[in-house]
Subunit: 340 residues, 2 copies
């Protein structure tokens, strides 16, 4: 079993820097598209055999040091009582706008309501045995709330901001409920076999540092504190949080995900030696010729300067139009250039 | 004449903190919409009497301490030989993709090619006499290059990144040409009467700090150094640059525009006392009830802690769906709470 990834999460020394890619099971891979052509995105999420198949593809094709289960952060929101569709972006037809809407939300029974997620994890643990560890994941409460309140993607997040400022009691009730759901959902993943949990806060970075501490941090902190973390490290990734990493760090967790807008070395200096980091190559670097990809991989490794507790990754999800050959080359570069 | 804005740009003490709003001449104002309903967006940019009229509206309606001429950053790009349309976002039908494309671009003769911009400035200086100073503006070279190469807005900026990495000589030639054009364009604005210049780098923040220093900073630095700045302060605003303000500062300029993702006090500590700052209220705060708007205005003023050289503004453009009453209330709060 390749333990490089988990060791790095715990801050232990490793022989080579472990690497995986956010969205590594995805559209840039022809092998993924072949599976995806047979069903809808949601059907793929809900069919454990297929979800497991696409989760394993990048392990075999790219040689990454961890697998992440294929799913969507909104999967557990649907059984809270919200009708979800992808067109192709996610859309809820009944967005949350009032206390009555919040009260109608239920906390799913994970074994009954999202059995396919837990089954995907079990299949993956069997099929990955002796290969690489398995990462489970969920959305941070704030990011889930953004989708649930806006009803879809947004540019200015006017609805959730209005709720936050003008109806703070509705906002708080919603966030409490989502936090409880997320805790149960992620602990169910751990029980099913996930060996690491990544929390994605895609929209936490839309807020000012002060509003992040007021409206997001208490809930993410409660979530992370409520996870069964004894044997399962937690990666916390807040996109766009480069100028408030000190605030984000207060939420806890073992590994801080970094996007490409920060210098990784400066971030490590700020976060201190007890927190591992994950990142942070600009995803568009994979559009570059291979000599540039190699130069940039080396730069990120140099910024880390050999400190233990670094998981190499992109600073955000791999883009659907990059070449798999370049992704594979990047993985090779990380392993070759970091070899002790 | 209300000199509060210019004094603050130069770092001089003022009686009350000056305030204006990015995109203050815009769609949230019914008075603007009344003018705009009679013509297209580009016609409004190219008709000096109308452009001047909408530029003055927020001075009268909101009581801001500066006017900014109404125009678009892409106005001077069209006479370089690129066909521009708004649908409603900007679209160039012949994007730049090769050295031959770059070579075909011409440097406009400002008096002949964008006379309406210079005429708008002249009208505004006459009509604003005894009221408030006039801000001219332009896009930073990188932001203009993004639009010229992508041909329209983009999510991942794949085209310009590919050019930057795989055809650096084409990228450099394009950036040189845009920088020269921008220098002449902004100096023509100063000659026509602009009393301050704001450079908008809307997309500079998509890059990593290292790529910003490699691919953007040299050109913005040359641009700022080439402006007739003796009597005309320069505001440099790079959206999304909160985690690399030290890099952005190297470009020079008198005032650093800050978006709402940074703590204004921490940014001032980093930038030092010689650089003024502009910002940085979260634009969505204007969706909040007035007691929250007042609290947040006070918070930003408190972060500045009375240091000279602060121009109050939003951290990005005012959103089209906010209430003008809230914008007006925000301006009043800034003046009332900062009064010496």
């Amino acid at each position: 079993m390749n333990m490089r990834f988990l060791d790095a999460c715990w801050g232990k020394p490793v022989d080579r820097t472990p690497v995986w890619l956010m969205r590594q099971a995805g559209r840039y891979l022809p092998e993924y598209m072949a599976v995806r052509s047979k069903c809808t995105f949601l059907e793929l999420c809900k069919t454990p055999e297929l979800a497991a198949e696409v989760s394993i593809q990048p392990v075999d094709i790219l040689g990454v040091d961890a697998a992440i289960m294929f799913s969507d952060i909104l999967t557990p929101v649907e059984p809270m009582g919200m009708k979800l569709d992808f067109v192709p972006g996610p859309v809820f037809e009944n967005p949350i706008r009032s206390m009555a809407d919040v009260e109608k939300l239920r906390i799913p029974q994970m074994e009954q309501d999202v059995p396919y997620v837990l089954e995907t994890i079990k299949i993956l643990r069997r099929e990955l045995a002796g290969k690489v560890p398995l990462i489970g994941f969920g959305g941070a409460p704030f990011t889930l709330a953004c989708y649930m309140v806006e009803g879809k993607g947004s540019k200015d997040f006017a609805q959730i901001k209005r709720m936050m400022y003008a109806a703070p009691e509705v906002y708080a009730a919603l966030m409490e409920k989502i936090t409880t759901m997320s805790m149960e959902y992620l602990n169910a993943q751990i029980t099913a076999g996930a060996q690491c949990i990544q929390i994605f806060d895609t929209w936490g970075g839309i807020l000012s540092p002060v509003d992040y501490e007021r409206y997001v941090l208490p809930y993410t902190t409660r979530l992370i504190n409520g996870l069964n973390r004894m044997e399962t490290p937690v990666i916390h990734f807040v996109k766009g949080s480069g100028a408030m990493l000190d605030s984000v760090q207060k939420a806890g967790g073992d590994v801080m995900g970094l996007d490409w807008h920060v210098n990784l070395g400066a971030a490590r200096d700020l976060l201190g030696p007890k927190m591992a980091v994950q990142g942070n190559l600009d995803p568009t670097t994979l559009y570059a010729p291979q000599n540039i990809i190699e130069r940039e991989v080396k730069r990120v490794l140099d910024e880390n300067a050999g400190r233990p507790g670094h998981i190499f990754n992109l600073g955000h999800g791999i883009l659907p139009t990059v070449s798999p050959d370049n992704a594979k080359f990047m993985v090779e570069c990380v392993h070759r250039l970091s070899q002790k």
